[in-house]
Symmetry: C2
């Protein structure tokens, strides 16, 4: 059994990005530039955005932050987006989600120019990804396919079972895994699926992306399977200083011994998800 070290792989790829950054600076006279729009003061959103800025620094990217208070109007946000769409100095940008309830999130996403939509949430990017055309692919699915590639895991013809059909993880990952590049047979399961356990047991690659701690138990995993755990639920813990710990969707302790590969939580998919945004920004800068 091999534990997939997402931190180590992400570090390696960051080194590669750093050298790409140098080339871009030589060619264009400036580094790739990622901008972020942050609304309000939610602790989670603040720290996610801070991580993204820190990641940019590590690979030599420029970054900038546009902040708004919680009472920002849709019109003000769209006007800020249009500015970034037109700003030649900015290669790509993101809007940190979720947004306050009075803002139509989908309308905001669709205001982003698809060419700068490094989160890959604009329908045009989702559509191109679905058809198999070059596009910005959202962070978690892109991170997972990279993880599988870097570990030289053979996905071709294999049965990849994905628990969860969300628009940001399960659905796009199912499409990517089924296309010629990864070439898997893909099954998408959800809360209403009959024979869920039995289908999981037939998986060569099992991806859990439902946000239910310890949902995947050892009776659901085939001997020698690859298990990818996307879950990150904060659960109370008396072993950490914060009083909380991150828990995956997989009962790691009991499942791991049966696997050929498994991702831990934290330190598996998470670092790769953060990396994907850098890769998309790099692509945007190359255009």
């Amino acid at each position: 059994m091999e534990i997939i070290d997402g931190n180590k792989i992400a570090k390696e790829i960051k080194q590669e990005i750093l050298s790409e950054t140098q080339k871009i600076i030589e060619k264009k006279g400036k580094a790739p530039h990622l901008a972020a729009i942050l609304v309000g003061h939610d602790g989670g959103s603040e720290s996610y955005v801070n991580f993204k800025i820190k990641d940019c620094e590590e690979v030599g990217f420029e970054s900038s932050l546009v902040r708004f208070e919680d009472d920002v109007t849709e019109k003000e946000l769209i006007s800020a987006i249009e500015k970034l769409n037109d700003d030649k100095n900015v290669d790509g940008f993101i809007i940190q989600l979720p947004l306050p309830k009075h803002i139509d999130e989908q309308k905001i996403i669709e205001a982003i120019s698809p060419d700068k939509d490094v989160d890959g949430f604009h329908p045009e990017n989702v559509g191109k990804m679905t058809i198999g055309l070059p596009s910005f692919i959202s962070a978690t699915p892109l991170g997972i396919t990279l993880l599988l590639e870097r570990c030289n895991i053979n996905t071709s013809g294999k049965h990849c079972v994905i628990i969860g059909r969300s628009n940001i993880v399960g659905r796009p990952l199912s499409i990517l895994m089924s296309q010629k590049k990864m070439n898997s047979t893909v099954t998408v399961l959800h809360s209403g699926s009959e024979n869920l356990k039995e289908i999981c047991r037939s998986a060569d690659i099992l991806v859990a992306a439902i946000g239910k701690p310890d949902f995947v138990t050892k009776d659901m995993v085939k001997e020698g399977a690859v298990v990818i755990d996307v879950g990150t639920t904060r659960v109370p813990s008396d072993k950490t200083k914060s009083g909380f710990k991150l828990t995956g969707d997989v009962d790691y302790e009991n499942v791991a011994p049966k696997c050929s590969y498994i991702t831990p939580v934290p330190g598996g998919v998470g670092p790769m998800t953060r990396l994907a945004l850098l890769l998309n920004t790099l692509e945007a800068a190359k255009k």
Copy 2:
């Protein structure tokens, strides 16, 4: 075993469209209008476009045809598309595919305004469909979901196995079947899938969309399964006047007795596919 009569269901829905058309005429003073662009003189393309025009007449739609010779330039085609995009009299339009090799098909598709793209091929429509937002859904997947609904086939929680991952049938159908409305567990198989037969045998609903005559044999079908045959391959026949007959992907004669429901070829999915274009045009006219 029940044979799904696509012609009968399509006829019923056409009656419903006809009465919707009347309402639109009363409200807007004009009938829905579908335009088609046809390039060259390929026999297949000519007859497909003729069918579409005939279908429009049956439900009281207006239709128009814009023709070009094989040597049309990309620029001329795009200019014709832009005219139709701006033409308030035209609710939706299609470009009959395939196009001559010197034309970039994807570029042409992306020139169509997503609001008039009743074939549902524009990346923005594909993306919205993938995310689960209202959009034009391409003809065959829309036709198949309608067929299942009209036959009151319970798809929720059931295992729907789709053979084929094309951008016009297998891929979009897999997404639609997996979303909350149809709520199936969905597996997509392709030519490189391991254990293909075994996975087919686990299907409650088996959809064959690979274009290989008689590919699905009775040992691949579970007793009581619903079988949807999307294949339409022309094979030589000494029993027809034309010397050809349409053959599906399913060995109908031997598979049918095991099924709860099965679509014949022709007369199953085909008529529903033609119908879907009318439904999209109706939606476009309602906007």
